[in-house]
Symmetry: C2
Subunit: 138 residues, 2 copies
DNA sequence: CCCTTAGTTTATAATAATTCTAATGTATCT
DNA sequence: AGATACATTAGAATTATTATAAACTAAGGG
């Protein structure tokens, strides 16, 4: 549990004004033991449940985008119909359980070095992400 | 270059009636030396350019979905705003050049074995895909 | 403090990809 | 040829996301 002051400072340092909407979204996103993955729809629901204040849908979108730009969230393109976001911004990988559409983190350290033997002229590797699809064990 | 008869047989064997729309889409998708990636919008454009016949947008969507179900196409979730499809259905990986939004195949054999040290109880690995983001070399 | 201003929130409209509907058309089987 | 299940189509509906523009507010200077 972190006090709102912490988020106020964090927002100010990022050049974002600490509005009550943003502070509440920070609490919802970052006041957790665990990082997690979410869609905008899910985030709106969490805010509705936890918060006394109302936050408009537009502000939820705006804030998520602002936080992505600042590096506080990552977008995970796993389904093309809806955007998934991740509060874990460390370099890591994912299981994806297609049965229930759930993403599960794989620590970077739990994946061996990845050896890519193809080169693209004029380009260099910016990041490597592994997606592991799961199915029920027979 | 393959004759239409080939696709007629392929469609029939799949339980899909060989309509002139589906045959034309087969030609556009599979009559190539190289596999490729495409969006629905791009596919519609290719069809418009190559084909004498008109194919409705609904049929393009229907056919792409039918072909995915039959395993003749794969969906590549790389952007959440639009679906990318792949005529390469072999197990392989991808570079993604964020500058121009282009996908480039990486042969399965060009990626070393991937060692995942995390286990999820009751689940087993169905597939492993690697996405490598590219940036311009300094 | 009070103003000013730039940044923010918000309701609502607009956009765009995709899916649905239901009428018309056609491949296939008898 | 006739019956029928499957397929195509135009257009409407849906849904996630973005844009708009008016009202609101945090921040900084006086
Ligand atoms: Mn993640
Ligand atoms: Mn591919
Ligand atoms: Zn994650
Ligand atoms: Zn590919």
């Amino acid at each position: 549990m972190v006090y709102a002051d912490h988020y106020i400072n964090k927002l100010r340092k990022s050049g974002l004004r600490p509005t009550k909407q943003r502070i509440k979204i920070c609490e919802v996103l970052f006041d957790n033991d665990q990082t997690f993955h979410f869609t905008i729809k899910e985030l709106v629901k969490i805010i509705e449940n936890q918060a006394k204040i109302k936050v408009s849908l537009a502000t939820v979108y705006n804030t998520v985008h602002a936080f992505i730009n600042k590096g506080y969230l990552k977008e995970i393109p796993i389904k093309s119909s809806v955007s998934y976001y991740d509060t874990n911004t460390a370099h890591h990988h994912h299981f994806f359980d297609e049965n229930d559409g759930r993403l599960i983190d794989i620590n970077h350290s739990d994946v061996g070095p990845i050896d890519i033997q193809t080169k693209i002229p004029g380009k260099k590797i910016k990041s490597i992400e592994v997606f592991v699809k799961l199915e029920d064990q027979k």
